[in-house]
C-alpha cells in the first residue's frame, strides 16, 4: 500500500497534491480589537478539516485571500496563521508574551490598506503559509488566522464587506482559502 500511496507521476515520490480542501466565508462582520492570544482566531476561527495521511507522508499548504475595509492598526501586530494553535508566539519567555507557545505560526499572512479613518478604503489580506515544519497526523485539525499582539489592536475594521452595510457600490465579498495536502 505504501507504494500506492506515493503513486505520483513518474519517478517523483514527493510533491504530489493529495487533497485540496476549500473554505469560503461571505458573512460580513465587524472585527473587534483584541490583545494577546485572543486575536489569533479573529479572521478565521476553528475551521476543521481532515488530513488524509500521517505527518511523515504529507504536510499542509494554505493559500487564500481575505477582503476587508479599513486598516485600523499597522503594521506590526503579530499576524499569524496556525493549525491546532501551535506556535503563535514570538518567544515563550518574553514578559510581553506570557504563555504563548513559541513557534512557526507567525507570518504567512500579509496585509495592506490605507489608514484614513473612514473605513471606506479596501484592505487586502494575502495568505500563503506552509506547515511543512509542523508534524500533523492524519485526522481532524483546526485552522486559525488572526494576530497575536500585546495591545488591543486589529488589522482591519470589517471583514467581507458588502453593499448593504458598507458603500453600496460593493457586492458581497468573501474570504476564500484553499488547504492543500501535499506529499513530502
Amino acid at each position: 500500500m505504501a507504494r500506492q500511496l506515493f503513486n505520483f507521476p513518474e519517478t517523483s515520490a514527493s510533491g504530489g497534491i493529495i487533497n485540496i480542501i476549500r473554505y469560503k466565508d461571505s458573512t460580513r462582520r465587524t472585527i473587534s480589537p483584541q490583545s494577546g492570544a485572543a486575536g489569533r482566531s479573529a479572521l478565521l476561527n476553528n475551521f476543521t478539516f481532515s488530513k488524509q495521511q500521517g505527518a511523515e507522508a504529507s504536510y499542509i499548504l494554505v493559500t487564500g485571500l481575505i477582503p476587508g475595509l479599513g486598516m485600523d492598526n499597522y503594521p506590526h501586530i503579530g499576524m499569524c496563521c496556525t493549525i491546532d494553535q501551535i506556535g503563535y508566539g514570538q518567544t515563550a519567555t518574553d514578559s510581553r508574551a506570557p504563555d504563548h507557545p513559541q513557534g512557526m505560526a507567525g507570518g504567512g499572512i500579509y496585509y495592506g490598506g490605507v489608514n484614513t479613518g473612514s473605513n471606506n478604503e479596501g484592505t487586502t489580506f494575502i495568505i500563503h503559509k506552509s506547515f511543512q515544519t509542523f508534524n500533523l497526523d492524519a485526522g481532524n485539525h483546526r485552522l486559525d488566522i488572526g494576530w497575536n499582539a500585546n495591545s488591543n489592536v486589529r488589522p482591519l475594521t470589517y471583514q467581507n464587506p458588502n453593499g448593504t452595510s458598507d458603500n453600496d457600490r460593493h457586492h458581497q465579498c468573501g474570504t476564500h482559502i484553499l488547504i492543500y495536502e501535499i506529499a513530502r
Binding site: 504530489g16 486598516m71 503594521p75 506590526h76 503579530g78 499576524m79 514570538q90 497575536n148
Partner: protein, 192 residues
Amino acid sequence: MGRAIKNPPPVAVASKLVATGEYIMEQVGPLNSNYTNYTIWTYNYPKQKASNETYLYFAAQFNSLEAYSYAPAPCIRCANQTADQFNGSQYHFMRQGNDEREFNLYTCQNYAHSETLDGRSANISGSNFGIGTVPIIIRWDVANGGSDRPGHTFCPTARATSGSDGSSPSAAMDTRGESIWYGYLRVWEIAY
C-alpha cells in the same frame, strides 16, 4: 473507501506536477542604504527533471517596513534567467507621515522555462535549468542605474530594530507584534 481516497492519482491520469519546494523567508535588513540592485533572498531549488522535461512556476508574498514609493518592485526569477525577469511582481506602499513603521505588501509570481511554453520562447538557457540546483532569487534592479530601496526591513521580526537611514531614523520600531513574520516562497515544478 480509504484506499480509493488515498490512492490518487493513478499514473494514467497523472497531474503535471512533478515536485514542489519551499523556502521560508526571514528578516532581511534593516537596509541602511539604497542599492542599484539587491538580492533579498535566494532559494537553491533542487530541480528534479531535465531542462526539456519540466518548467518552474514560483510565487512569494511578504511584507516589509518602509519603502520609497518610486522604487522598483522586488521580482522573483531564476538567477540565470535571461528574459521575463521583471514580470509578475508588484508592491504597495502604505504610508502615513514619514515613519519607518509604515509597511508594504509585496506579491511576486513568475515562470522560468527553457522550452517554448504557451507560445512564449524560452527565457532561461537549458544549461542552467537541468537536474540539480537552480537558484531562484527575489531581487530588485533599478532600471536607470540609480539606487533605490523598495523596503527597509523585509519580513520584519517582532520588534525589529530601527535602521539608521530611514525617514525617521530615531523612531523605535513598533513593539506590538508577538509573532515572527515569516514569508514563504513556493516553487511548482511542472511537466511540459
